[in-house]
């Protein structure tokens, strides 16, 4: 059997298989989340990452575990890629005490401090200045550490995007902005709301390095991220990566998807990042069908286990309502009604 992929000599077979496994894990995790949402085990908004797996997996693999990550509300993939325990992520979606945010955050607000996964945020682009601050802290303290922010094409039109990129550029903050351009913000196609549809070109206005990558190709994402992360780390200032991708499902579980055509979706399904890596590995003689089946089985089992574990985790105790409002400050007003 071969050991390297043509065109990607730096990657060991092990790592490529791990990419495949992680993408499968995210895919199966999201499929089960949708199912559990239907059963009302999960409430609120649920934004699936299906179709975009190559971005989270490729990008996060290229980072150091010390690097900070922040993301938006479509962040299950980033959390899982960063190594957050699927059991605890699922428990968070269930609103249980065992959840990564102890049930208080929910699907849109996964936090795992130990893994420097500093949150999913639900205000579009609201986390971008936070990423700049995290990057600044590393720079200030002389740490060998960058901050990475994931966000969508819709976030690019917010003022916070603009202010963050400019501030990061002026201070040469080590931060990597990764825009997952899936071409829609809810039901709005990018060309209807962005004066420039190639997002990385908008980033060029801030005098920083920006480029585009095929977000359906995990190897390409990995390599681009690796390169840009190292440049940011070595003091070149902020970097910008636009990953061209597509969400295979609706914006959230409530989306009737009236705004895009079946044909378009079909076309993108043909570029499924999982199938693509699988084919490529098989063609290069790096993967056998039964190995793939085995990886997928492991992913499914991990997700089964996650669902079981989440369901066994109790809801947060009523007392949890009152904690974590402040550090080191007593009970808060309104408690008398409890």
């Amino acid at each position: 059997m071969a050991t390297r992929l043509p065109g990607a000599p730096a990657l060991e077979r092990e790592q490529l298989l791990d990419f495949l496994y992680q993408m499968l894990l995210i895919r199966r995790f999201e499929e089960r989340s949708a199912e559990q949402y239907g059963r009302q085990k999960i409430g609120g908004f649920l934004h699936l990452y299906i179709g975009q797996e190559a971005v989270a997996v490729g990008a996060v693999a290229a980072l150091s575990p010390e690097d900070y990550i922040v993301s938006h509300y479509r962040e299950h993939g980033h959390a899982l890629a960063r190594g957050c325990d699927p059991k605890r992520v699922m428990a968070e979606l269930f609103g249980r005490e065992g959840g990564v945010s102890r049930g208080k955050g929910g699907s849109m607000h996964l936090f795992d401090k130990e893994r420097h996964f500093l949150g999913g945020y639900a205000i579009v682009a609201g986390h971008l200045p936070i990423a700049v601050g995290l990057g600044l802290s590393g720079q200030y303290l002389g740490q060998d550490r960058i901050a990475v922010a994931f966000f969508g094409d819709g976030a690019v039109n917010e003022g916070a995007f603009h202010e963050s990129l400019n501030l990061a550029a002026v201070w040469k903050v080590p931060v990597l902005f990764i825009c997952e351009n899936n071409q829609y913000a809810m039901g709005t196609e990018i060309s209807r709301v962005s004066a420039e549809t190639e997002v990385y070109k908008r980033a060029l206005a801030y005098n920083l390095h920006a480029e585009q990558v095929d977000g359906m190709d995990v190897v390409a994402v990995y390599e681009a991220t690796k390169r840009l992360a190292e440049r940011a780390r070595s003091g070149e200032g902020p970097m910008f990566l636009e990953a061209m991708t597509y969400r295979f499902r609706g914006h959230s579980m409530a989306d009737p998807e009236l705004y895009r055509s079946k044909e378009e979706t079909q076309r993108w399904l043909g570029r499924d990042p999982i199938a693509r890596l699988k084919d490529r590995l098989e063609n290069a003689d790096l993967l056998r069908e039964e190995e793939y089946t085995d990886l997928d089985r492991r992913a499914r089992e991990a997700v089964d286990e996650a669902v079981r574990w989440a369901d066994a985790s109790p809801p947060p105790p009523p007392e949890a309502l009152w904690t974590d409002v402040y550090v080191g400050r007593g009970p808060v007003r309104g408690r008398d009604h409890a």
Partner: protein, 325 residues
């Protein structure tokens, strides 16, 4: 009269005003191709076209600022902010521009437009998507703030808002869209700035608005049934200008008042109302004015915790009884 939902009532008002006045147009995120995140404007893009139903970028500050400018230029914009949580991104435009341009210009430049938005929690949307922030806007001179709790009031007040010569923040509530009620077909208005007694009673006054109106009416029925207590329920409907005359009149009769509101207590409207009641009808009060607000915590996601983070009928029931002792 036909029974329709709060959602349909708002949608009707919008359509009728779009039909009546060419200068009226809608702008906001996902109101067109997507049909509106709460489906209020479903089918509008097809019916009215891109000129009058304008999908915007996710740019709250520009949405509101652009609506202000368009109003100054003679149009009647109805801008939408998907939820009141996102209004914080446009707050500068609302507070520093919309509310002040008439005054700063010495009366030359009115800014008549409507800003629709959605308030409230209860759908497990978490801390950043579940706030009730309308009282902040109700503090600002120059703004009108409307908050209907029934389909009838929603349609009638929205029509008044669209015809109002001042900037109006029109606050809807996410848990009310499916509420049904009788709504006349065709044109009518509900005047801005008039509170409404939604239930008469002689023993205690309950003041409510938006979601808590339903809570108050439910509790009033239970009190009548279980305790023989007749509560009078006043629905504020407009938060600015705040019409407290019906509240004072009611308290002069009942000598007791409870205010119930989804917002956090400190700096919400309940303090203002309690402060005014005790000032204006001090001698009529037989007990302190009581207030029921959300506990002072960010909204938790977990269903069981979220239930604890919003005022409940049971809490209100107990508080009313406490007032009566």
């Amino acid at each position: 009269m036909p029974e329709i939902t709060y959602r349909e009532a708002i949608s009707q008002a919008l359509q009728e005003e779009l039909n009546a006045d060419e200068r009226v147009f809608l702008m906001g995120e996902d109101i067109g191709a997507y049909g509106g995140s709460y489906a209020v404007t479903k089918g509008f893009l097809e019916a009215y076209g891109e000129k009058r139903v304008r999908d915007t970028p996710i740019s709250e500050e520009a949405i509101v600022g652009c609506a202000i400018g368009a109003a100054m230029g003679g149009l009647k914009p109805i801008a939408e902010l998907m939820t009141i949580n996102f209004s914080l991104l446009a707050m500068d435009q609302i507070v520093n521009n919309a509310a002040k341009i008439l005054y700063m210009s010495g009366g030359q430049v009115p800014v008549p437009f409507v800003l629709r938005t959605v308030s409230g929690g209860g759908l497990q949307l978490g801390a950043q998507h579940s706030q009730s922030l309308e009282s902040w806007y109700a503090q600002v001179p120059g703004l009108v703030v409307v908050a209907p709790a029934t389909p009838y009031d929603a349609k009638g007040l929205l029509k008044s808002a669209i015809r109002e010569p001042n900037p109006v923040l029109f606050v809807e509530h996410s848990l009310l869209y499916r509420v049904r009620g009788e709504v006349p077909e065709g044109d009518y208005t509900v005047p801005i700035g008039e509170a409404d007694v939604k239930r008469e009673g002689k023993d205690v006054t309950i003041v409510a608005y938006l979601r808590t109106l339903g809570l108050a009416l439910e509790v009033a029925d239970r009190l009548a049934r279980e305790e023989g207590v007749e509560a009078e329920v006043v629905d504020l409907r407009t938060l600015r200008p705040l019409d407290l005359e019906p509240v004072f009149a009611s308290v002069k009769k009942t000598n007791r008042a409870v205010i119930v509101e989804d917002a956090w207590q400190t700096g919400g409207l309940s303090g203002e109302i309690a402060g005014r009641i005790q000032d204006e009808v001090f001698d009529w009060l037989d007990a302190p004015v009581k207030r029921l607000n959300a506990p002072d915590v960010p909204m938790p996601y977990a269903r069981n915790l979220e239930q604890l983070a919003l005022p409940t009928a049971d809490q209100l029931y107990d508080l009313v009884l406490e007032t009566l002792q």
